[in-house]
Amino acid sequence: MEYEAVIALEIHAHLKTARKQYCDCPVVNTRELADANRYVCPVCLGHPGVLPVLNRESVILAMMLGIRLHADIARHSIFARKHYFYPDLPKGYQITQYQTPLVEGGELEFLVDGEMRTAQLERAHLEEDTAKIFYQDDGSILLDYNRAGVPLLEIVTKPVFRSAAEAVAYAEELRQVLRKLGVSDANMEEGSFRCEPNISVRPVGSDELRTKCEIKNLNSFAVIRKSLDAEIARQIALYEDDGEVQHCTLRWDEEHARTVPMRIKETQADYRYFDEPDLPPLVLTDDDFAEARRRYESAMFTLEWDGKEHRFAPGTARLTRFFLDNTELRESEVAVLLEDEDALRLLFASNEISGAFRECANWVLMEYRPRRAEAEGNITPQHIADIVALRADAKLNSTQAKEVFALCFERGISASDAVSELGFDQVVSESDLQEICAQVIADNDKIIADIRKGKEQAVRALLGQVMKLTRGKAKPDEALAELKRQLGM
């Protein structure tokens, strides 16, 4: 039988706020044990008598994502307590949103192999992160509450993905959207973007939803893809063997390249949700909507193209499609440029002046980006347009052009000043050329002998030396003619 996967993604993203979700502690992503528990207070440690106060900035950030996803943003939503006992949960409950999420529905376009797809979302709601647990070699367990209370947005899709590749492409797109919106750093290694897929499989053509399994603790897109593929295969094999899939939480075992159960969920965990009495309902005002809309719009990407202004919602799918349709850029180059907004803006601004898109792209990709990795530099769109023009007019050869670029990058002087400072604008006089050619002929008895023996191509080696001595300023055809004249060829 043929099977297809049914995958939904639950993504937890840290919201990029200065303060924690329910207290005034700064949000600082510390890694070292030595920095543990520096950014804590009675509230995020769950001391007796403390009360949560909602961080409104997290609300605005969540609304910005809601606008981006064309989702419903609830004017009135409530917080709930979700209960369970674990040492990383200071209060014995997490303050989250249950029945009324702030953001409901919505969709996100993403590209798979250059093809546009749309993922439907279930909801996105505000909650708080837990403490970090450090398991020590001596068996002790240390807790770091710096992360406890950091604002989280939980973003849940409907079960819409049919392959690991689709799920990963959506997650990558969502990450980009969050970053471009400035809503989250969305860094997987640092744990500010955590992805928990749940998967079931079913015969192709069926629309049933079978028992699903969740995979947790996946820390890279590669691991998500591998684990999903392995889990899909595992479930298919189970059904093929007339077995049953048991509802469970899995983790990825990298060594054996397989998913393994963390714990079997025989019954639904009972979180005993009830409305958080310490927080009044979250009521959004027109001002909140205006602020979220204004900040969303300032995060949009604006591009001059063919003298027209194009605006793109924060994200990459639409932009990528636009580049592939309108420019000669390859998909891999687009991906690089979309990660590097400076380079992208430089390219488009240069192109607006020069019109030679591909050439501008080459300079930005091959020369600008590697140099900018080392230093800020002083390159302007005008530099790139000028250098492209100089090359097109054969005023510079490619080596010279690179030297000019390097000088412009370093000092910010104009391309023409760089050309003259490097002396690439001086012409070699006829008498100089005669003298240099004579000298090269005098210094290269061996090559001359080869030529005399009939190996006429060897004259090219002499030309190379003439070019070197004139630092490239001689015109190669003139120099070749002069060499041949002196050699009587």
């Binding site: 440690l45 007796p48 008598g49 209960h83 006992f85 040492p87 014995g92 009830f274 009495p277």
Partner: protein
């Protein structure tokens, strides 16, 4: 000088102002007498040591400057351990002051210590304290009420001029009634809950106890302020409760509703009924109209309250896991997590607290929440609406504070349902988030105080104090020194 101990706060401040006694001098006297009588009454879990830092003199304008205040041990204090009356917080040193405590401190108040209570506020007799019971200053064989029993006893027994308590289902008013002092429950959100160790968050109020209504107004002027640290805070920023209390116009010719169901002889003892009828005549003599009204669903009050409050308690008490503070800290890592929780929580909580955690967990569990917790929330909503509707026809409600006078120590401790029944008259105000006040309404034939309770609509706190002051003036049944305390005072050598 010891007769100064029987004064109210405003009388005392007049003495301070006239230079007849200095606050520090009075405080020293207050502490000596508090210690003197403490072995009899046992109001305090922690009594202030000698030489505690004097209040900030710069705060001389504070409404209650220099007045000694006792604080229920359910409110966090940085200078006293805070136990909530529980073993699980034995020796716990809070890293912050409750907002109400801080406001008193900033206003220049002395603290006499932390008063005894039923563990986490769960009880009506102070017998559920994990440490020891408190005795009623009117009869040491009886309970002072609860859960703010220590606070009420401390004010009645002249160990403190006023006291800060908390009230979730009657915990300020009922002990005030049992001990013959005034107990006030402000509108929900009028005093910050920051630093009130949560029992049932949607029902918890900070309240206060004093010897007269004026002192309550002065307390409210100090602690009844908005607070950014409490998202449910809704106190008006510039209210002057003393001025509102003195605004007789606001209560001239007002109508007081008497709830028939709370005057049912099957529910309320004869002594208490008589006192209520006397109170009604006092109000009529003072020019108020009195109207008999019906409260629908009285039989649902206690079930509703005793579902909601354990539910919230089971959640609020989940944090006591011995991992960050309190009993069991630091954790013994040779135990499994389950063993750790069991070792900390089972002995850490008393029987009543364990009972409510179990009840609360049950009523919130999947499959039961609809039948219990959600149903109780709907009932609460209906009660709130019913009360609001009543206030369309009357300005205030009158009812007893408790069905009986103080009962004997040990009398009800083994019968939780009977103990819960003591709350029937007080839970209404918490469920409806309204202000309420209990005033001394005279003594029963056996010499025990009886509390008369008034309820006002939400946010009518100032007007409620005006009515209470009117009643106080006309009733002539205000605070009197309990005989036993008077005897101790007579024998007290300054």
């Amino acid at each position: 000088m010891k007769e100064l101990l029987t004064l109210t706060a405003h009388e005392l401040m007049a003495k301070f102002a006239a230079g007849e006694v200095a606050p520090e001098e009075f405080y020293a006297l207050q502490m000596r007498f508090a210690r003197h009588i403490e072995p009899k009454v046992r109001s305090f879990l922690t009594l202030a040591e000698d030489g505690v830092s004097p209040p900030d003199v710069a705060a001389r304008d504070g409404a209650l400057w220099g007045v000694p205040v006792s604080i229920k041990d359910l409110l966090t204090t940085t200078d006293f351990p805070t136990t909530a009356g529980s073993r699980i917080l034995e020796g716990y040193a809070p890293p912050y002051d409750a907002t109400a405590v801080k406001l008193l401190r900033d206003a220049g108040n002395y603290f006499t210590g932390k008063t005894n209570l039923d563990e986490f506020g769960m009880g009506s007799s102070t017998e559920n304290s994990a440490y020891f019971p408190t005795h009623n200053p009117w009869d040491l064989a009886r309970v002072p009420g609860g859960s703010s029993g220590g606070s009420a006893a401390s004010v009645a027994a002249l160990q403190s001029v006023v006291s800060l308590g908390t009230d979730t289902g009657g915990s300020v008013r009922q002990p005030a009634g049992f001990c013959g002092v005034v107990g006030f429950l402000p509108t929900y959100g009028y005093v910050s809950r920051n630093g009130l160790i949560a029992f049932a968050s949607s029902l918890d109020h900070v309240g206060m106890l004093a010897r007269d209504v004026t002192d309550i107004a002065l307390m409210m002027n100090t602690v009844g302020r908005p607070d950014k640290l409490d998202a449910t805070s809704q106190a008006p920023a510039d209210a002057d409760y003393l001025a509102e209390m003195n605004d007789r116009e606001s209560v001239a010719g007002c109508t007081v509703g008497v709830i028939n169901q709370m005057m049912d002889p099957k529910l309320v003892s004869q002594d208490v009924l008589v006192a209520c009828e006397v109170a009604i005549r006092v109000l009529e003599n003072a020019g108020c109209g009195v109207k008999r009204v019906d409260l629908a669903g009285v039989e649902r009050l206690l079930p509703c309250y005793y579902i909601l409050c354990p539910a919230e308690a089971s959640s609020n008490l989940a944090r006591y896991d011995g991992i960050r503070y309190g009993a069991g800290f630091p954790a013994d890592i040779s135990r499994t997590l389950q063993q750790h929780y069991r070792a900390v929580r089972s002995p850490g909580f008393g029987e009543e607290v364990r009972r409510r955690i179990l009840l609360g967990t049950y009523v919130l569990s999947a499959g039961y929440a609809e039948a219990y917790y959600n149903q109780a929330r709907r009932v609460r909503h209906a009660i709130t609406e019913g009360i609001a509707e009543m206030f369309e026809g009357v300005d205030f409600l009158l009812l007893p504070t408790s069905p009986t006078t103080a009962f004997g120590l040990g009398e009800r401790i083994d019968d939780p349902v009977k103990m819960y029944a003591a709350d029937i008259c007080t839970v209404t105000a918490n469920l409806a988030s309204t202000p309420a006040i209990s005033l001394p309404g005279g003594l029963s034939p056996d010499g025990m105080p009886i509390g008369i309770q008034f309820i006002a609509p939400q946010k009518h706190d100032g007007r409620l104090l005006a009515l209470a002051r009117l009643y106080e003036e006309h009733a002539g049944t205000g605070y009197s020194v309990p005989p036993l305390v008077a005897e101790e005072l007579a024998g007290f050598e300054e």
